[in-house]
């Protein structure tokens, strides 16, 4: 009897340990974000919060400019996503289903982009944008996000389109459908899953960008959430733990919400993206 019980116990313990390891740091962050400054001094770090001290969030949101950073990240990310989806769908379609001479060459040309480290492009991009007076503008970030989002997105879209039977397109063409109508009424609705994957994946990548935004933007009004958080750390330092926890919690929240709603698409999207490497 005893022997049978040991294995499930070990599994339960391992599972519990794993869940604690993954969840506890985040739980701790959340509880700490509601602590009064005095609690950090008088109690050990793992103690629960005494009450809900909302002032941390108010400080972060107003004095720490989190409201501005949030707005900027949202604008940049959404603007880039619209174009990334539009370009990757049209380019992906042209590369897989349309007939022209150089399509394989263009496809592998787009493929190379997956290998390019952001750091390698950084110095020339800074020089280009500087010359065009684009430093400290949203435009510089948005066009960079679009261009760097294309390779992987096109790869995902073409993978999906390759498995789409040609007959559907042929039937539409026989019925007298032109190319643009074909795109909007047949192809785009059929690609809903691939589009969601691209959207979700690129949302995480763009929202998490640090290197581009810290290089191209130094105006506080235009900073994004990632650079904002770094700035926040320098500004408040070790003095205001509560406000730092509040700002970090706030930046995590959109991810938490999107992930909870779309976790299947996220996991599949990340996995599909990874297969290319």
């Amino acid at each position: 009897m005893k022997k049978i019980k040991i294995k499930p116990l070990i599994i339960s313990l391992l599972t519990a340990g794993l869940v604690i390891l993954e969840v506890y740091p985040l739980f701790w962050m959340l509880t700490a974000s509601f602590k009064k400054p005095a609690e950090f001094v008088s109690k050990p770090a793992y103690a629960l919060n005494d009450g809900f001290y909302i002032q941390n969030y108010i400080d972060a949101w107003t004095r720490g400019n989190m409201a501005t950073f949030f707005k900027n990240s949202l604008i940049n990310t959404l603007a880039a996503l619209v174009f990334i989806v539009f370009f990757s769908v049209t380019i992906g379609f042209a590369l897989t289903k349309m007939e022209w001479k150089y399509k394989n060459k263009v496809a592998s040309y787009f493929g190379i982009g997956i290998m390019v480290p952001v750091a390698t492009a950084l110095i020339p991009l800074f020089q280009i944008y500087n010359g065009m007076n684009l430093i400290n503008t949203r435009t510089s970030l948005i066009i960079t996000y679009i261009a760097f989002g294309l390779s992987l997105s096109i790869y995902l879209v073409t993978g999906f389109l390759k498995s789409l039977p040609d007959e559907i397109l042929e039937a539409a063409v026989v019925d007298g459908c032109g190319i643009y109508k074909l795109m909007w009424t047949i192809v785009v609705p059929l690609m809903k899953n691939a589009i969601v994957t691209v959207l979700v994946l690129q949302f995480f990548f763009k929202w998490n960008d640090l290197l581009f935004s810290m290089t191209f933007i130094n105006d506080t009004k235009l900073k994004t959430i990632q650079t904002g958080l770094l700035y926040f750390q320098d500004e408040f330092g070790a003095k205001n733990w509560g406000a730092i926890f509040a700002s970090v919690s706030m930046s995590v929240l959109p991810m938490l919400v999107v992930y909870m709603i779309l976790n299947k698409a996220v996991i599949e999207g990340m996995t599909a993206g990874a297969v290319k490497g």
Binding site: T15, L18, E22, P25, W28, A32, F40, P44, A45, Y46, S88, T90, I91, A94, K97, M98, E99, V106, G113, M115, V116, P117, A119, T120, A121, L122, P124, L125, Q127, I128, I143, A147, F148, L150, S151, V173, C177, G178, I179, N208, L210, L211, T215, Q226, L229, L230, Q233, A238, W241, V248, S251, L256, Y259, N263, I267, M270, T271, A274, V275, G277
Partner: protein
């Protein structure tokens, strides 16, 4: 059919805008970096051709050697940690975990989607010793391990390890999901047959699973490699490259050389080096795969 799908105007309209943007912003800068790397000074002001002098300088630069060693150590530790633990987790999900499978997988994956800087800030507080003990030190001190309390990211002996632990924590869920998918693709009959033939767990893994998992392992390694070569965001958020230069990566070195000190030409040499490291490393890992197949 041909008229519609061979519509030249439509193809141009679909492909050219994106192609142009991609060429200017992604591909051109790579070539441009190579061009910059043989110059010295500030572009447009004092801009002198120096040939390969920047490259030569790189080989004698102690700061570069340090950044390279830090970056390589980080690649080795984090790659083994992410891919290894990812594989172990996947095996655990597939063969032992019976209840709450989806919930556990969802939770383990969660750190993957968190903003890097936010994770960095969180871990700064976890590792903190001054002015108050952070989570790790206060737990250690409470369970009687006072002698282990230390400034985890404030001393060079533990900073890189602390940073690696954080990045492994973030990404292992991602690899576990990939490996788990691959394990599900392996037909149950093969595993059953091996068990009937008297295979124990270790031999089952060594003789049956690991050969079948090899392609996906290579993919994971390449993915982890290209991620760790770039080492920047998490190190900046957690340690800012310090203490001293204990966690200063190649990208951070490049960044400070070109943007803090304004040495664009020399910075470009490092940028080119990072690009080559990325390409050569991925090719080497890929080679592993082909050798076995032949």
């Amino acid at each position: 059919m041909k008229n519609v799908l061979g519509n030249k105007k439509a193809i141009a309209l679909f492909v050219l805008p994106g192609l142009l943007l991609y060429t200017i912003i992604v591909m051109l800068p790579v070539i441009w970096s190579v061009y910059y790397s043989v110059y010295e000074g500030t572009p447009g002001l004092k801009w002198n051709f120096v040939g390969l002098a920047n490259y030569e300088r790189l080989f004698h630069d102690k700061n570069f050697h340090n950044a390279l060693i830090v970056n390589l150590k980080y690649i080795a530790i984090v790659m083994i940690g992410q891919v290894g633990l990812g594989l172990l987790l996947a095996l655990f999900f597939r063969f032992w975990l019976t209840k709450f499978k989806n919930v556990v997988r969802t939770l383990v994956f969660f750190p993957v989607v968190l903003p890097t800087v936010a994770v960095g800030q969180l871990f700064v507080k976890i590792y903190e010793i001054q002015p108050n003990y952070g989570l790790l030190n206060s737990i250690l001190s409470n369970i009687g391990l006072q002698h282990l309390v230390q400034p985890w990211i404030g001393q060079s002996s533990t900073a890189l390890g602390a940073l690696s632990a954080m990045d492994i924590w973030v990404a292992m869920g991602f690899y576990s999901v990939i490996f788990y998918g691959a394990l599900l693709d392996i037909p149950g009959e093969i595993i059953e047959a091996a068990k009937i033939d008297g295979c124990n767990a270790f031999n089952l893994f060594r003789r049956v699973l690991s050969p079948l998992l090899k392609p996906i392992t290579i993919t994971c390694m390449i993915f982890s490699f290209t991620g760790t070569v770039k080492m920047f965001e998490s190190a900046l958020a957690l340690t800012k490259g310090g203490p001293g230069s204990a966690t200063k990566s190649l990208s951070m070195f490049m960044y400070s050389v070109s943007f803090t000190y304004g040495k664009v030409g020399y910075g470009s040499v490092i940028a080119v080096f990072i690009f080559l490291l990325c390409v050569v490393g991925s090719r080497l890992i890929n080679l592993f795969d082909r050798k076995e197949k032949a």
